[in-house]
């Protein structure tokens, strides 16, 4: 579909929607701030509503947490801030807080008649941006807008840091995108915000209750610890609190872990979803392995070839890849281990994988999957569609991944995929095969967006660390992904920093996690290849590499840190694909899809709702793409590339050919919270 324009407008719309309050003439802010207030006590609710109205806010009240959550989910960009009571009959306020933080990433203020220190502390540790003691006075409500501003400002910062793109400089320059995607997308949104932020900066400081958490850098070691903890607990049971306890890292907060986990999940999902694709893609891509991918390439190429040859990417290889990709030789062993772990965890072979047994088998082939990750862009929608069918589980995974909005996960997925090429491959193959016909139709689907969305979500969801530079590229990727969807232009660009950029660079910037990887990735541009794969079917090599690289990179990074990295990589690759030439070759597409699948796959384990995922995937895909925060995807440009060139159908078919079964990993991109804002797909 070449209706990227649709997307583009979407993004614009979403940006404005997202920034509704800000869109209003700055001096009218905070009037019009959209507040959702949740309290089971009708008296308090009535009073709060009146108070908030008096402050000129737009108030929506609800007396049940579940209602609030569905309201938020339905209307991802409909609220600026949430105020919730701590004690509610249907759900604990802190649980709601967690959900909101993970899925929507909105500032949440807790309230309670309880002013005990430990309760207030709980609010802090769960990520509440403020805690009000009842009875609430109107004066306390007058300044809640500061939390909205502060949060946005921080998000921006993340983007900026990762993308290192100036605000003003938003024009998407496709080639350089790495940071660009995120910043580009963000740019418009950001600039307006920034201005506003600047105005309010002075006021931000007065909120002592808002803890500004220092960004956590998810180094390789830290990530390995994280993964170890998660493995120990079991993906299903891995909750941030327990992970935090197991990791026992001083200074690490539960929120850090929560956001990282979110990303990781996405990554896993992606891996599982993509692996299928990957296997397909890998084959094609593996061969070329040029060094185009940059740092990763040399090793990647080698490794990939090996993988291709064996059809299995043993953990070791992956480790090698990673190391190569990352340029860290030492990481090899280390990475290998994690890879294995990851593989185990996420591998399809694991029963844990939600995907379902079938997928696991698929996974086996997946070596390729990794590659596919890289090519999320076009593939995604279609891939997802196909994936869905063939790899129900993967789809689920993807979905889960995305749903969680753990962008980081996406990246991780890539890595994970790498680790488990085997399983994936099969899946992908299957998926692509079956999907082939579907691709064209699904192209429109946000599959890609999922990927992107994934990125996006991660980004959104995990503001703290992930936001890093990696994000920028991701966003770009996202765009690419969206292309197939056509609308993707909106791609997650916003959300995914990874987005379109020729990805690799973006990947690196990705965020804390990515730090390691990003750097590597950057150089390689290998990641970018992912996108290229699509674009340059002809030039398989570079592209393959990209995917591969990406995968590898991700692996490396993954282990090291951050799921994000993986996601980013995947994202970037995806994005690149989209952007690079819009010539989505079938391969590229496949690659993209695969990548996605891979991610998804990875995540599947986490999610365990493979089945659901499938379903979701499809839905998500659509949703995701739509959701890709339009804000981010400001630069629809690259995203549009795809549609223009390939049209989703083309991409899909191309992908299908390649992968044969690459299930649309897109689902992964369905970040839950991310609000892939309404990227119209």
């Amino acid at each position: 579909m070449n209706s990227s324009s649709g997307k583009g407008s979407m993004s614009a719309a979403s940006s404005s929607a997202a920034w509704k309050a800000g869109d209003v003439v700055p001096d009218q802010f905070p009037a019009g701030l959209r507040v959702l207030v949740v309290d089971d006590d009708p008296t308090c609710l009535m009073i709060l509503e009146k108070m908030l109205r008096t402050c000129l806010y737009e108030v929506t009240k609800c007396n049940r947490a579940e209602t609030a959550l569905s309201l938020l989910r339905e209307n991802k960009n409909g609220f600026d801030i949430v105020i919730s009571d701590v004690h509610m009959p249907d759900m604990d306020g802190f649980k709601l807080l967690e959900h909101i933080g993970l899925e929507m990433d909105l500032p949440v203020i807790m309230m309670s008649a309880d002013d005990g220190k430990h309760v207030v502390m709980k609010g802090v540790t769960h990520g509440a941006c403020d805690y009000l003691i009842k009875p609430v006075r109107i004066e306390a409500l007058k300044n809640i807008w500061q939390h909205v501003v502060r949060k946005r400002k921080n998000e921006w910062k993340d983007f900026e840091q990762s993308g290192s793109v100036e605000e003003g400089d938003r024009q998407p320059k496709q080639s350089e995108e790495a940071d660009y995607s995120s910043s580009a997308n963000e740019g418009n949104w950001k600039s307006s915000k920034k201005r506003k932020d600047d105005d309010d900066e002075a006021e931000e400081r007065d909120d002592t209750s808002t803890l500004k958490k220092p960004r956590v850098v998810w180094s390789v070691e830290l990530h390995q610890q994280f993964v170890a903890a998660v493995n120990q607990l079991g993906i299903d049971k891995a909750v941030p609190k327990k992970i935090l306890e197991l990791m026992n890292v001083p200074g690490l907060t539960r929120e850090n872990v929560a956001s990282h986990l979110q990303k990781y999940r996405l990554y896993l999902r992606r891996l599982s979803g993509v692996s299928q694709h990957q296997s397909n893609l890998n084959n094609s891509f593996m061969s070329p392995q040029e060094a185009t991918f940059g740092p990763l390439s040399p090793l990647n190429g080698l490794d990939l070839q090996t993988l291709a040859a064996t059809g299995q990417l043993p953990a070791q290889s992956l480790a090698t890849f990673q190391a190569a990709g990352l340029g860290r030789s030492t990481a090899k062993s280390g990475i290998a281990m994690p890879l294995v772990d990851q593989r185990n965890i996420f591998s399809f072979e694991n029963p844990k994988l939600r995907f379902g047994e079938g997928q696991q088998q698929h996974m086996n082939n997946n070596k390729q999957l990794n590659l596919l990750h890289g090519i999320p862009t076009t593939m995604e929608p279609k891939q997802l569609a196909s994936l869905h069918h063939s790899a129900q589980s993967i789809g689920n995974i993807n979905m889960q991944v995305t749903s969680h909005g753990v962008q980081g996960s996406q990246n991780n997925s890539l890595l994970i995929q790498m680790a488990q090429p085997q399983p994936r491959g099969q899946i992908l193959n299957d998926s692509t095969g079956s999907h082939a016909p579907r691709l064209p139709s699904t192209l429109g689907q946000p599959i890609l967006s999922n990927g992107i969305a994934a990125n996006v979500s991660t980004r959104n969801g995990i503001p703290e660390n992930i936001r890093g530079p990696g994000y920028n590229p991701v966003s770009q990727t996202s765009s690419l992904l969206n292309f197939p969807m056509n609308h993707t232009s909106e791609l997650p660009g916003n959300s995914f920093p990874l987005g379109t950029t020729p990805g690799i660079s973006s990947l690196t910037s990705k965020g804390a996690f990515q730090e390691d990887i990003n750097s590597d990735v950057k150089g390689s541009g290998g990641f970018m290849p992912s996108y290229d794969i699509f674009n340059d079917l002809n030039q398989h090599k570079p592209q393959n590499w990209e995917l591969q690289n990406v995968g590898m990179t991700f692996d490396a990074s993954q282990h090291s840190n951050s799921l994000q990295g993986n996601l980013d990589l995947a994202q970037s690759i995806l994005v690149q694909q989209g952007f690079s030439s819009g010539q989505m070759n079938g391969q590229n597409r496949s690659a993209a899809v695969v990548s996605k699948a891979m991610f998804s796959a990875g995540d599947c384990t986490e999610q365990g709702n493979a089945q659901n995922v499938n379903h979701h995937l499809n839905n998500l895909l659509v949703d995701n793409t739509i959701r890709i925060k339009s804000e981010r995807v400001a630069d629809a440009g690259p995203a549009n590339l795809f549609p223009d060139h390939f049209g989703q159908e083309d991409l899909m078919s191309a992908l299908l050919k390649q992968q044969d079964g690459i299930a649309p990993a897109e689902n992964e991109f369905d970040f839950d919270g991310y609000s892939m804002d309404n990227i119209p797909v």
């Binding site: 009708p42 008296t43 004690h87 009875p135 109107i138």
Partner: protein, 151 residues
């Protein structure tokens, strides 16, 4: 003009509610929220409070009939009740809630029962007084309801 004496009476009544500790600052917050768009806001909120809190009182009574006492549950219920009461500025009622919760925390069933009885009394007293107040306010004239505060 006729309203003047009524309004004066209203103001006196209102002041005594504060002076005797039945109401606190939070009630003033409610009064300040009252405006032309919601001219009976305070009365509406208080009515809602009494309706909703009656339910909690009933739950508390039922919980206090089950022996042995489930202090956690009692505490939870009382927490809710306290939140509501404090939001309308029911000072004495709120104090009784706090006392009740203390007894819950220390597992003093006897203390809980006593505190609850006292609480119900305060709750009923306040209700009576506020009803009289709002009635007078309505008679005194809509414009002046509850907003006759001596500055």
């Amino acid at each position: 003009m006729e309203r003047n004496p009524m309004r004066r009476q209203l103001a006196i009544m209102r002041q005594s509610l504060f002076d005797q500790g039945y109401l606190d600052e939070q009630f003033i917050q409610l009064e300040e929220l009252q405006d032309d768009a919601n001219p009976n806001f305070v009365e509406e909120v208080v009515t809602l409070y009494y309706r909703d809190s009656a339910r909690i009182i009933l739950n508390l009574e039922q919980a206090l009939e089950r022996k042995p006492f489930d202090f956690n549950k009692l505490d939870g219920l009382m927490h809710q009740f306290k939140g509501s009461s404090s939001s309308i500025g029911a000072k004495k009622v709120k104090a009784e809630c706090t006392l009740f919760r203390e007894y819950c925390k220390s597992g003093n069933g006897e203390g809980c029962t006593r505190a609850f009885q006292q609480l119900k009394r305060e709750y009923a007293t306040l209700k009576r007084k506020l009803e009289a107040y709002f009635q007078l306010a309505r008679q005194a004239g809509p414009a002046e309801t509850a907003c006759c505060r001596k500055e």
